[in-house]
């Protein structure tokens, strides 16, 4: 900088302010961090905290015909607690989602393992191929399972054609199993990624060390690979479990009366019954149930890891 420019900078207060802000940013990493973080923070507050806050507030209000009574009360919660069918529905949703999560992880793990350890080139191509089902709409994927499992669907037609059954099997569709199959298929690609990442991160020399110390392939998997991939498995479980509890499209389309989940009830409260406060209370309660179950999964895996040593 020439001396003329320097004196100009000294004279101009805006430039001087700019300089000192720059200086402060350079000096304080924390300040830099907050500024970089602020867009995320704004989105988080706008898109999450506000809606959830509104949900919480709604859950303490009550619906009086078409009016909403804004007196704070626990009436909605009491109503849900006293209605066994609601509580059972929440419980069943948790159970179905746990089954979905288990099925998804069991499906996803071998695929992630294959890409991480057996594919040596173009892993990214394989990962993209796995997301191909995601390129079609969720609804379309659910419908295709309806086509596969349905009364006149692919499986039944095949069984009939092969002469294995005379009448189509009715139990394939419209039950919780159909919900579990459909959801597990839909969420498998999501579960593969975190498991893949955790497997990919494992230092290959650790596996060689295990073999060197006498382990065969199975012992090595159980003692090194699996424990080191648990973070990925937990992440995958959470990613699948949390959103599937509240799903209402799949149960609606393939679940039948037995396969309905709490999402369907919430949907009904917000739309058909037009009872937002009760719907909100249901949402809060199922969120609480999800939190408790997630924590349980987390503690269980941690415990299992300690035991596996």
């Amino acid at each position: 900088m020439t001396s003329a420019a320097q004196s100009a900078a000294r004279a101009n207060p805006i430039l001087r302010l700019g300089k000192s802000v720059q200086g402060a940013l350079f000096r304080y990493a924390g300040l830099r961090g907050y500024i970089l973080f602020s867009p995320t923070l704004l989105v988080l507050v706008g898109a999450m905290c506000i809606p959830v806050g509104m949900l919480v507030i709604y859950s303490f209000w009550t619906q009086k015909y078409i009016e909403i009574d804004t007196t704070l009360t626990l009436a909605n919660y009491l109503q849900i607690f006293n209605k066994t069918s609601y509580m059972l529905l929440i419980g069943k949703s948790i159970l179905i989602s746990t089954a979905v999560t288990t099925a998804t992880v069991v499906l996803a793990y071998p695929i992630a393992y294959f890409i991480a350890f057996r594919v040596h080139q173009h892993k990214i191509v394989w990962l993209i191929l796995i997301t191909v089902p995601f390129w079609t709409s969720y609804l379309l994927r659910v419908f295709s399972w309806k086509v596969i499992l349905g009364y006149n669907g692919v499986i039944n037609s095949a069984l009939k054609w092969l002469g294995i059954v005379d009448q189509p099997l009715a139990f394939l569709l419209h039950n919780p199993t159909a919900v579990i199959i459909t959801l597990a298929h839909a969420w498998a690609p999501i579960a593969i990624l975190p498991i893949f990442v955790s497997l990919e991160k494992i230092d290959r020399s650790l596996l060689e060390a295990a073999t060197d110390l006498g382990d065969g392939p199975v012992a090595r998997f159980l003692r090194v690979t699996l424990p080191l991939s648990i973070p990925g498995v937990v992440a995958a479980s959470m990613l699948v479990f949390i959103p599937t509890v509240g799903d209402y499209i799949t149960p609606q389309l393939v679940g039948g009366p037995d396969g309905l989940m709490v999402g369907n009830l919430m949907h009904a409260m917000f739309f058909k019954a037009n009872n937002w406060p009760l719907g909100s209370a249901l949402a809060i309660l199922s969120a609480a149930a999800i939190t408790v179950t997630s924590l349980a999964i987390w503690f269980l895996t941690k415990h299992a890891r300690e035991r596996a040593k």
Partner: protein
């Protein structure tokens, strides 16, 4: 030592990766209880050879016998061999004790026996009291000890070590050379270790195999390797060396008379396999510390030449000087311990001095390679 000279026997082993001949027709016999080094520049195939011994790579041809048993196609978990990996490969989810005991689970020992063996191994590597530490809570040097203990606790017939000291800082590295050597003497297990650091190999090993481009070029004790290298490559890799092109004129007693062009007629050591025929072109190698600076020409018997100082560098306990002999392509390098009071400095450049050396210091090497 040395009950069985071919305790580990490598027979004409080759390993190719695509067009790269990582290991190219290597044959080696390593004795029981020996501390053996594989030394060579980076990429010469040392690690690959070690991994073939460990069972992590199958050779394309050749075979490996350990204590008489053919191990060529045995997987690592079926070999009486353990490895200390270059990055130590400590299991991050296990603590120090669990790491060390890892390989004992399969040996049909009771919990009590395992605990005793682990304690013993912890003591051997001087890590008593650190057993409960997490794998990520120990320093680099301690990680190395964990890796050593984890392998030694299995009482292998052979311990393989891949650049075991390269991840440590300089002081620790020098201390560990002594310790590792003492440890090997104490446990009496055959150690085969890979290094690219010649000083490390010289100071620790009983014998060294020098590798270049997948081939073993010389197998010898450290002293022989340094004093009587058999090729220019080996001579240049182990320590440093001045090379002078020469033509053989004839033998005179225990010296070889050669015509070294600009350096004149000089006397060199007679090669162990006899004097080359007169007229053969050879290379005479002289170690920098064996060239002596003098103010006046020496007496009979020693070689001498007049040279001009071109550069001097002071390294504390010793100095390096470069002296140009008229007609030689490169200046000769001279190393001198700084025991004499008089040092030469940059400012002395240009001054003429005498260089002398004994005939035995001149090593006659074949001209090619």
């Amino acid at each position: 030592m040395s009950n069985k000279p071919d305790f580990v026997s490598i027979g004409d082993v080759s390993k190719h990766f695509g067009s790269v001949r990582a290991v190219d027709g290597v044959s080696l016999d390593i004795a029981q209880g020996e501390f053996f080094a594989l030394l060579g520049p980076s990429g010469c195939g040392k690690t690959t050879l070690l991994r073939i011994l460990g069972g992590f790579e199958a050779p394309n041809s050749g075979n490996v016998h350990i204590d008489g048993a053919d191990m060529t196609l045995q997987p690592p978990n079926r070999r009486p061999v353990n490895m200390v990996f270059q990055n130590y490969a400590i299991f991050p989810h296990l603590n120090v004790r669990e790491n060390i005991g890892y390989g004992l689970r399969k040996e049909g020992l009771s919990k009590q026996q395992i605990a005793e063996r682990v304690d013993e191994a912890l003591a051997t590597v001087k890590l008593e009291g650190l057993g409960g530490r997490g794998a990520t809570e120990v320093s680099g040097g301690q990680r190395q000890r964990v890796a050593l203990a984890r392998a030694l606790v299995k009482h292998p017939k052979v311990l393989l070590l891949d650049e075991p000291l390269s991840a440590l800082d300089k002081n620790l590295r020098e201390q560990m050379r002594v310790e590792l050597r003492a440890l090997q003497q104490q446990v009496g297990i055959t150690f085969i270790f890979v290094t690219h650091d010649q000083e490390e190999a010289l100071s620790m090993a009983d014998r060294i195999a020098v590798m270049f481009d997948g081939k073993v070029r010389q197998v010898d004790t450290p002293e022989h390797l340094y004093e009587t290298p058999r090729s220019k490559d080996v001579a240049a890799f182990i320590g440093s060396m001045n090379f002078i092109d020469a033509t053989v004129e004839g033998a005179d007693g225990d010296a070889l008379i050669v015509d070294a062009g600009p350096v004149g007629r000089i006397r060199a050591g007679l090669p162990a396999d006899g004097a080359p025929a007169a007229g053969t072109t050879v290379i005479v190698g002289i170690r920098p510390e064996k060239l002596i600076l003098a103010d006046s020409p020496p007496g009979e018997g020693a070689n001498s030449i007049r040279a001009r100082l071109t550069a001097a560098s002071y390294l504390g306990e010793r100095s390096h000087y470069f002296l140009q002999v008229d007609g030689l392509a490169e200046p000769l390098s001279i190393a001198r311990q700084n025991t004499q009071a008089q040092l030469l400095h940059e400012a002395d450049a240009g001054s003429e001095l005498w260089l002398t050396w004994s005939p035995a210091s001149g090593i006659v090497l074949p001209a090619a390679g």
